[in-house]
Symmetry: C2
Subunit: 335 residues, 2 copies
């Protein structure tokens, strides 16, 4: 695997090079028993962690090392974005099977460092070890936020508008293209593949929403819109009404669904790994927030429905209501 | 595996129950996109993370769920101890294969929570997912320390005394007993097995050393004494002279070596997973520190040699010097 040649410590030296992009306040990065850095007395710490296991979350022959490195970090940054925080330090654990070439690992760290660099996230440490069968990546990210700016899942209120910051279903369609090896032209569905392989964490959008008065609940769409909406509804003890026609669906996803005979609404609701943000807005503040968002980001904050007092999630389609089910990804059973 | 029955979210609820043992300053534990807690303005943050992969770090039929939970957390707490810090928050990622019974997982969390409770460490979050082949555990621990009390690896000075806080080689011998299924009486080598399966993190010893004037370098012995000593020597750019006769070896390890024809010095030097602390002490302060340690803990802080200016690691045995090699565990190649 090439690792025997350079050894564990050689590998660690190589992989951590260039990982310290924001040295202020860092007393010790990689190389001791723990990393040491100053906390910010005026802000609180946010911590998230995600474990990616080969053959569960990714197939090595379907994702380049560079994309995997990008994505493994992006999903964690997305969690920090969903709290309204700024990501600061990342810790990378990697379990490497014998058959994983050094080139793949080099590309993995390149992809991760490129993303970390863009958001000024330090790669401050981690753990490097072997694995018998699967490539394993666990990343823990520490972020900071002003305590009054943090947005939780349990703070939606009846009457709130429900909005999302980007298109839904693209990533799941990209995965479908990869897994089924569907006959498509090169580059025809590049947008769907890229949504799946290189999701962009909505850090700036999260900070914008954290800063806006009237944003009540906030979550990132990782399991699928219906599933993540359900987290907000259950934890806030409210209901919700989503309008199928308002779900933002990309032209690529419409084309994909037409071509292969799928319903775009299904994919938008149950997709998963979208990594857009889902938020609820005080109804009197919603128009201003939506307008400001559009001015700031040059694309819409899409109003897709409202929070109700009923406790029930409803989907309105063609004028008729139906129960909305948690149809997003569930990590169990494993398929 | 029983998980299908209770589902991912049922599992998470069950496993995180009782994980918040020190709620002060915790704004959000498990259940949102990230955990949220206050940092301490007067102290700095320490972060360590360790990945344990089945068939690399443990064999499921050789370690109970309870012991694995204990050990997975203990190895991280040991890293915080080796910086002179207090562990505060833990984040548990777990990848669960189909054949892992719920009972094993219940016991795993019990073992972890019992240890966390003793050191007032919150289990604040993590990630739960599947795994195709191996049980995977990644733990990240955040600790706190006064910046002037932190002890690093690169601060040993020529003339320092080299000391360890406990016996060496027991854990490796315990592993050997398990792997080779040697013919021994029940309970005959309980101490060796327990050193391997339930290592005790030297948190109190680390805080004692961090508080003592004259403690220069500090590391925990995870890869084996010779290997971890080498980290101090290389990073401090010094040499060292270890006296074989002074290495602390338990009566159990002596008996084990006599019985099976091994050399206790080899096991003490190259053992690994001892999780005692290795430190270097200013020579004029060493007698006091050693005396105070013994008064405080009721067992010796063992003086095993000294730091030299030569840059070379030497082992003195039967009056003769020999080169000391990094003979401790190396995670590559994987055997």
């Amino acid at each position: 695997m090439g690792l025997n040649r350079i050894g564990e410590f050689g590998f660690i030296r190589r992989m951590t090079r260039g990982g310290l992009v924001r040295p202020d306040g860092v007393l010790k990065a990689v190389g001791d028993d723990a990393a040491v850095f100053q906390s910010d007395p005026d802000r609180v710490s946010l911590v998230t962690t995600d474990l990616l296991v080969e053959r569960i979350h990714f197939l090595r022959h379907h994702i380049s090392g560079r994309d995997l490195g990008h994505k493994a970090l992006a999903v964690n940054l997305s969690d920090i974005a969903a709290m309204g925080g700024v990501p600061r330090e990342a810790f990378i654990s990697i379990g490497i099977p014998d058959d994983c070439p050094l080139d793949y690992l080099d590309a993995f760290y390149e992809g991760m460092k490129a993303l970390a660099d863009r958001y000024k996230v330090n790669l401050l440490g981690g753990d490097t070890t072997g694995s018998r069968a699967d490539l394993i990546v666990n990343i823990a990210v520490i972020g900071l936020a002003d305590p009054w700016q943090i947005r939780y899942r349990d703070t939606a209120r009846p009457g709130d508008r429900v909005c999302v910051t980007g298109n839904l279903g693209d990533s799941r369609a990209g995965l479908h293209l990869l897994l089924k090896e569907l006959p498509v032209e090169t580059d025809e569905f590049k947008g769907l593949l890229s949504a799946h392989l290189r999701p962009e964490p909505a850090i700036h959008e999260g900070l914008f929403l954290a800063d806006a008065e009237g944003v009540h609940a906030l979550i990132d769409v990782s399991d699928g819109l219906s599933s993540d909406l359900m987290h907000i509804l259950e934890q806030s003890e409210v209901g919700g009404r989503i309008e199928a026609e308002k779900l933002p669906v990309s032209p690529d996803l419409r084309l994909f669904c037409r071509r292969f005979g799928f319903d775009p609404v299904d994919w938008a609701l149950a997709g998963g790994e979208d990594y857009v943000l889902l938020c609820t807005l005080a109804p009197d503040r919603a128009p201003t927030i939506i307008e400001d968002f559009s001015a700031r980001f040059g694309r819409p904050l899409c109003d897709i429905g409202e929070i109700t007092a009923t406790g029930k999630p409803i989907l309105i389609r063609d004028g008729s209501p139906a129960n909305l089910h948690r149809s997003g990804w569930n990590h169990f059973p494993l398929t």
